[in-house]
Symmetry: C2
Subunit: 766 residues, 2 copies
C-alpha cells in the first residue's frame, strides 16, 4: 500500500531551512547564561620545547580574572580525542596522548595555561600577561626529521605513531608482470576545515556530580565519554547537548575544547564557563587535514588492464595523534572497492611532528590516496595512448565483484554507469578531441577521476544508531534521533524515511534536532558518511513498530481486524479499499491518549547495529584552461557523477555534491596552511591569508546521479556526505597534464606550484 | 531475590537537594536569552466593567517599547485554563471562558492590554502610560448577588457556572431517622498559594511554526495543549519545557501566562518574550483558593453512629471558571471514603463573581468540605456527650468497606489505626481530661479531625503516565519521567522505585528532572496527589523490562540460561548462588553498546493508564490554648497521622506532612485575601499585608504514619501530597470549641474573627 508518491526520493525542502535562513535557529554561541565566565588560553609561541618558568601573578592581579590554571593544575591524565565509538578491544582504541594543558609544548600554539575571567576581553588581556619562558627543542615538521634515529621524541613512545600494511593478491608481482610499470610520488598539503561556526562550547553544573556541556560538536556521545575519561569521572556524570551547528567537516569529529570547559566549571563550582576558539586558534589549535606523501606504483597492460597497484603513504599527524593512523588506513579501506580485480598493496606510516595536530576531515584519507592513484592511472593511460575513461571502464568495480581486501561482495555498483553517463553529459570525446596539439599560452585539457567510499566504519568501528518516534495528539510524529544534523541535511532525510515507512505526510514528522546525551537515543555521531546509512534501519524499524501500534489501536477502536487496516497518507484506511478513510492517525492518537482505560502514548524506540558497509562510487569530469604564463587554471566545466544507491532527497544530495566539489577544488587549487618548516610557526592562520575559495572563485558545479538500489540498505541508499570531495583533485590535475603535458604531483596547484613546475618543465623561463 | 535493603521505604536524601541548596539548580528566571523582551500588563483598576476607550500612543512613544497589544488584537478565541487532562467527552471538558486580553473586565487587575519592551522597567512604565477609560458595571462578590435573577452577567451564560448533586443511600431520610440532627453553616476564605517562585515563563521560536515555552508549571503537557487551543494551532506546534520549579501548590496547575508568552513571540517574529508576574499580580491575577459556603447537616444516634450527612456547597470561582465546578465536586468525591457506612448527600453550586479567579490549590475542595463535616461531627459528639475520637472510631472507613458513591471497595484503610496511634502518642485522654471546667482568660482544648483523599483523578480524568529508562555505559540508569518534580520530591521516589525493581543502587539512578513535551513521556502533570501513584506502574513496568533486557544480554555474554541469572545491587549474579557476582550491570552495558555486532543501547519505555484510585486517610490531633481577651490561639501540640499505604521515603513523607500542616494552619488561623465587598479591590496583595505564617509562627509539626499496603498500587503506596493540609483546620476549630465553648464556623480564625465570635458568645464585652 502506498500513496504513489514516495517520501524517500522526493526533493523536500530542508526541515531546518526556514529556521536557519531567518536567523531563528540557535547555535551554541546564541546560548548565554547568567554568570557565564570566559576562558582564553596562554599558548606557546614556539613549536617544540618545555616550559621553564611560568608566572601568573600579573595576570591574576587583573580585575575581573577569576582563575588561572597551568599545566601544573590539570589532571595527570592522557586522553584520546578522536571521534570514534569506544572499542571493547584495547588495541582498537584511539591513542591517548593529550593532557588538558602541557609543559611539553608540541606545536605552535599549544596550550600551557588558561585564564578564566568575567568577559572574553579580560581573559585575553590576562592571558597576555602570563609570563612564560621556554627551553626550546628541535622543531620537526617532516617525515625524515621525525623518523630519524636521533630525532627528539615528541611523545614518550617516539615519533612513529603506527605502521601498517595491507596486501591483496601479491601486488608487487602483479605490477612487475604488467606491460607497463608507472611510478610517481605525490604530496598533499595541510589544510583546515574552515567551518562557518568556529570551535565553541560551554559547560556548567547543576548537580554536584553532573557536568553539562553545550557544544558545537558532531559527536556528543563521544564527547561525553572522552570528557569523563579526561576528568576520571563515570561517563554518566557528563551530559552533552548539541544545538544547531554551523558545519564541522570532521574537525568537530574530534573532542576539542569540551574537556577543558568541563574541567573549568568543575574547578569553579559549577559556574558556566565558555571556551571559544578564535578563527586563528581554529587554524593552529583545533585539527587539520593530514599532509600525505604517497609513493605510488602500478602495473598496466597495453589493453589498459590494471594488474595491480601499491601505495606507500607517509601521513603527518602533527603534534597529537587525534585520529592518528586511522586516517591513513581508512584511506586504504575506502579505495579498495574501486579496482577490485586488481592486486592491491598499501603501506602506511603515520608519524608525529611539530605541526598542528591533524584529525578527521571530509574524505578521511581517501582524497589523498585517490589523488595519487587516479593521477597514476591517468599517467599510465597516457603512456599507453589509451583513453582515460576507457581505462577506467575496463577496471572499475562492477556488481558482483568482491573486494580483494575484506572479501565483501559488491551488490550495487553504478560506477560504470557514472562514467558512461558522464562521458555523454560532459561530451568527453568532443572536448578531448579539442585538446590535441595545442600551442599558445592558454591551453585546454580534460580530466577524469573515480573514487569509492564506504558507507560507515564497520567492521573497524561498532555501528550503532538509535531512533525514537512519539505520536502526537494531532497525528504528527516527533522523531528523536541520535544522529547529529551538522548542516548535511540528515534531519530532513530521516523525516522522509519515517514518513515513508509510517505512510504519513512528510510535513507531519517533526525532527528533534538537538542531541542531548542524557535522553537522546545513542549514536556516536556524524562521521564517515555513516548517518543516513546506519540510522536508517533504526528509523525504519521504529516507524514499523509505531505503525503497528497505530493500526492495533485503530483495530480496537473500530472492531476491524488489524490485518484489514493500513495507513495511507496519514489516515487509517481499509487495506481492501484504500479510498475508504476509516479515521485519521490523529483520531487514533487522541483516543489512545485520552480514552479512560485503554491505550496510552503511542511510541517506539529502536537501537540498532549495522553490520554491512557497501561502497558508494563516483567520478569527476573536468575541462580546464591553463594560462601558462600566468600559471592560472580556469575550470571551464566540472561535473561530478555519483552512485550513492537510491537518492534520498535529490535537492539535498545536489547540495552535498556542490559543497564537496567546492571543498575539493579548494584543496586542489587554493588552500594550504603555510607552516614555516624550520620554526613550525603557522604563517596564515586567518581567512584573509589562507586562500579559501568563495562562491566567486568557483565554477558552476554540476552533478548527476546514477541511482542504484543497495540491497543491504534500509532504503536502498549508500554514503554521499564525504564522497563528492574526493575525485575533483585528480581529475583537475589530469586535465592540467593533458593541457600542458606537465604532471603536477603536488597539491595545491596554486600559481606558485604551477610556476615551479612549468619552469622545471621548461614551459616558461625562470 | 533482594538486597535485604529495600530502596523503596528508605529515607534517601532528595536527589535534587544539593543542587537546590547550593543555588546550582536553574529555575525559569535563571534562563536568559539574547534579545529577550519583557511584557507587562495594563490591568483594570475596577472589578467589573467594559473598556470604553484605550489610547496606547503615549506608551508606544516611549523609547524601548517594541509593541503594545490590546484586547482588540488578540485572537477571538475562548480557552480553558484548568490543569486537567483533555477528555474525549465534551461534557467533561473544562469551561473555555478566557481570552488573552479582555474588553469586559471581570476582576480587579483583569488584563486589557500588554506592553512588550526591551526591559521590564520600560514595559512597566509604558503600561502605566496606556490610557484606558471604563464603563463600570455592578461588582458582584457574593453568591446572593451573583445568583440574583437581575444580576449582571459576568459571562454570556450567566453567573451560575454549574450545579450538581450526589446522593447515596437517601441521606435526608437517614439524617431524619437519627437520634440527633446537627446543622451548621461554614465559611472559608479566599487565600493564595504563595509559592516561593512566582508565576513566570518565556516563549520563543526557532522554526516558523513551532513555539517553545519555558515555564514554571506543574503541567507542561496541558500547557502545550491549551496554548495550541488559545492560538488555534496544532498541538504539536507547541513545546513546553519545565526547569526546576519553586513550588506551585495548584496555582501552577492552571495554564497561566504561557498562552500570552506564546502569542507575543508569535507576534514578534519568534523573539524571546518573558511574561513574569509580580508578587502583587500573583495575588489578583493568577489563581486563589475557592471561598466555600457550606450548609451542613448530619444525623447521629446516641451511640455515636453517624447515620448520614449532607453538605450544600456554594463555591465562589471568581471571574473565570479555571477549575470551576470540579473543585466543589472533587471535594465530595474525595471525602466520600471517610464515612462509607453513612448515607451521603452533596449538593454543590459554583458561581462566577468579580473576585480574582479561583483555581486549584492543595486539597482541591477537600479542606473546605472536610472542615464543615469534621466540625459538625464534633459538634454532634459534644451534643451527645461522646468522645470525638470514639465517635470517629465508630464511623470511619475500615478495610472491606465500600464507597457508597462509586461502589469501590476500600482495600487498605488505616484510619482506625491512625486514630488509635494518635490517641496514644498525643495522650488524648489525659489532655482532654485537663480541659474540663475551665475558667480564666486562657483556656485549653483538644481537637481531632479526620479526612480521606483519593490518589488521583480516576475515573473523572484519564490517568496516564510514562517513564523511560536508559542504561548508561557505567551501569547507571537515566530515568526520564513525565511526572513533574515541583518540590514535592517525586524525582527521588521514582529513583527509589526504579532502583528497587532493577535491583541496582539508588545512587545509580539519575532522574532527568526537566520535562520537555517534545521528548518526555506523556504525563499530564503534578496534581491530585497523583504522581507517585499513577507514574509508579510505568516506572515499575519499564524497570522490569529493562531488567529483563540486561539479563537477556548477560545470558548471551555468559552462555548461561537467562533464568539462572538475576540482578542484585547493581550486579548480575547467579540466582542459585547470589554471592557469585557474574559481572556488573556496567559490564553488561559496555558489551551491549560496544560489541561489534550484537546488543544495542538497553532501554525501556512504558506509557501506562491507571484505573484504580484508592483513598489515603489520616487525622490531626491538636492541643490549643486560647487567650480569650487577646483573641489569640496558641497551638501547644499538633500531630498529623497518615495512612498513605507504604511510605516510599519517610524523610520526604515527613517533609510533605510538615508542609501541608503549615499551610493548613495558615488557612486556619492566618491567611485571607481581603477583598472589598463593594469594589472587588484586593486590599492586601503582598506578603507584608497578607499574613502568611513563617516558621516562627508555626508550632512544632509532628507526624506519624500508619503503614498499610495498598494492593492496587505498584509499590503499595497511596496519595500523600495534598492530604496533610486537610484535617488541621477542623481539629483546631474543634479544640477551640472545647476550650471556649464557641463553635467558630468561619475561617480564618484570626483575632478579628475570634473577637467577633467571642463578643457574640458573650465571652468578652464589645
Amino acid at each position: 500500500m502506498s500513496t504513489g508518491l514516495s517520501a524517500v526520493g522526493s526533493p523536500f525542502k530542508r526541515v531546518d531551512a526556514t529556521a536557519k535562513v531567518t536567523g531563528r535557529a540557535r547555535y551554541t554561541d546564541d546560548c548565554i547564561m547568567p554568570g557565564m565566565r570566559y576562558a582564553k588560553y596562554v599558548r606557546s609561541p614556539i613549536a617544540h620545547g618545555y616550559v621553564s618558568t611560568i608566572d601568573t601573578r600579573a595576570a591574576l592581579a587583573l580585575p575581573g580574572v577569576d582563575a588561572i590554571f597551568t599545566f601544573q593544575d590539570v589532571p595527570d591524565v592522557c586522553f584520546p580525542t578522536a571521534g570514534h565509538a569506544w572499542s571493547l578491544e584495547p588495541a582498537k582504541r584511539d591513542v591517548a596522548d593529550r593532557r588538558l594543558l602541557t609543559r611539553h609544548v608540541r606545536h605552535f600554539g599549544d596550550g600551557v595555561a588558561i585564564v578564566v575571567a568575567r568577559d572574553a576581553l579580560t581573559a585575553e588581556k590576562a592571558a597576555a600577561l602570563v609570563e612564560v619562558s621556554y627551553e626550546e627543542l628541535p622543531v620537526i615538521t617532516a617525515a625524515e626529521q621525525a623518523l630519524a634515529s636521533d630525532a627528539a621524541a615528541i611523545h614518550p613512545g617516539g615519533n612513529l605513531l603506527r605502521h601498517s600494511e595491507i596486501l591483496a593478491n601479491e601486488p608487487q608481482e602483479a605490477i612487475a608482470a604488467a606491460d607497463l610499470q608507472q611510478h610517481a610520488s605525490f604530496q598533499t598539503p595541510v589544510i583546515q576545515h574552515c567551518h562557518m561556526e568556529g570551535v565553541t562550547c560551554f559547560a556548567y553544573m547543576e548537580q554536584p556530580d553532573h557536568i553539562v556541556i553545550v557544544s558545537s560538536t558532531q559527536i556528543p556521545q563521544i564527547v561525553r565519554r572522552t570528557v569523563a575519561q579526561a576528568l576520571e569521572l563515570p561517563w554518566s556524570n557528563v551530559r552533552v547537548i548539541k544545538p544547531y551547528i554551523g558545519g564541522g567537516f570532521g574537525n568537530k569529529q574530534d573532542v576539542l575544547e569540551e574537556p577543558m570547559a568541563a574541567f573549568l566549571t568543575l574547578k569553579l563550582g559549577g559556574a558556566p564557563v565558555k571556551v571559544e576558539l578564535s578563527r586563528e586558534e581554529c587554524f593552529f589549535a583545533s585539527r587539520t587535514r593530514h599532509a600525505f606523501s604517497v609513493d605510488a606504483e602500478l602495473g598496466m597492460n597495453r589493453d589498459g588492464h590494471l594488474t595491480g597497484y601499491r601505495l606507500n603513504v607517509l601521513s603527518n599527524t602533527g603534534a597529537y595523534a587525534s585520529h592518528g593512523h586511522s586516517i591513513a588506513s581508512a584511506g586504504a579501506n575506502k579505495i579498495s572497492y574501486l579496482y577490485p580485480r586488481s592486486a592491491f598493496g598499501f603501506d602506511a606510516t603515520t608519524f608525529y611532528s611539530n605541526l598542528p595536530a591533524a584529525g578527521a576531515m571530509r574524505g578521511y584519507g581517501a582524497p589523498q590516496v585517490v589523488y595519487a592513484l587516479e593521477c597514476l592511472v591517468d599517467d599510465a593511460a597516457a603512456e599507453l595512448g589509451l583513453d582515460p575513461v576507457d581505462v577506467r571502464l575496463l577496471n572499475v568495480a562492477r556488481s558482483g565483484d568482491v573486494n580483494p581486501v575484506n572479501h565483501k561482495t559488491i551488490y550495487s555498483a553504478g560506477l560504470i554507469e557514472c562514467l558512461r553517463k558522464g562521458r555523454e553529459l560532459f561530451e568527453w570525446d568532443a572536448r578531448k578531441a579539442e585538446c590535441v596539439n595545442q600551442t599558445g599560452d592558454i591551453r585546454r585539457g580534460v580530466g577524469v577521476a573515480c573514487f569509492s567510499y564506504g558507507s560507515n566504519t564497520y567492521p573497524v568501528g561498532v555501528e550503532i544508531a538509535g531512533a525514537r518516534l512519539l505520536l502526537n495528539q494531532d497525528g504528527t510524529v516527533n522523531l528523536q534521533i541520535g544522529a547529529t544534523e551538522i548542516g548535511q541535511g540528515s534531519d530532513t532525510v530521516f523525516a522522509q524515511m519515517a514518513a515513508e515507512t509510517l505512510d504519513i505526510p512528510f510535513e507531519h514528522i517533526r525532527v528533534i534536532s538537538t542531541q542531548d546525551t542524557d535522553v537522546t537515543a545513542f549514536d556516536p555521531g556524524a562521521f564517515a558518511s555513516r548517518q543516513s546509512y546506519v540510522a536508517a534501519p533504526a528509523v525504519r524499524q521504529a516507524a514499523a513498530e509505531l505503525r503497528g501500534k497505530i493500526l492495533a489501536h485503530a483495530s480496537v477502536m473500530t472492531h476491524k481486524p488489524v490485518w484489514s487496516l493500513t495507513l495511507l497518507n496519514g489516515n487509517v484506511v481499509l487495506e481492501s479499499c484504500p479510498e475508504e478513510v476509516v479515521m485519521s492517525v490523529g483520531d487514533v492518537s487522541m483516543h489512545a491518549y485520552y480514552h479512560q482505560e485503554i491505550g496510552g502514548q503511542l511510541l517506539a524506540e529502536v537501537s540498532h547495529k549495522t553490520t554491512s558497509n557497501p561502497p558508494a562510487f563516483g567520478c569527476t569530469f573536468v575541462d580546464v584552461s591553463v594560462d601558462i604564463p600566468l600559471c592560472k587554471v580556469t575550470i571551464n566545466r566540472i561535473i561530478n557523477l555519483h552512485d550513492s544507491g537510491r537518492i534520498l532527497n535529490p535537492q539535498l544530495a545536489e547540495g552535498q555534491v556542490h559543497g564537496g566539489m567546492g571543498m575539493g577544488i579548494g584543496w586542489t587549487l587554493f588552500e594550504e596552511m603555510i607552516i614555516d618548516a624550520k620554526s613550525g610557526v603557522v604563517r596564515n592562520p586567518n581567512l584573509l591569508d589562507y586562500k579559501f575559495p568563495t562562491i566567486l572563485d568557483l565554477p558552476d558545479l554540476e552533478c548527476a546521479f546514477v541511482e542504484t538500489y543497495e540491497p543491504q540498505s534500509a532504503y536502498g541508499h549508500k554514503a554521499l556526505g564525504e564522497p563528492p570531495i574526493i575525485s575533483p583533485a585528480p581529475a583537475i590535475r589530469n586535465a592540467i597534464r593533458m593541457a600542458t603535458g606537465v604532471a603536477i604531483n603536488t597539491l595545491p596547484m596554486t600559481p606558485k606550484t604551477l610556476y615551479r613546475e612549468f619552469v622545471q618543465a621548461g614551459l616558461i623561463g625562470e
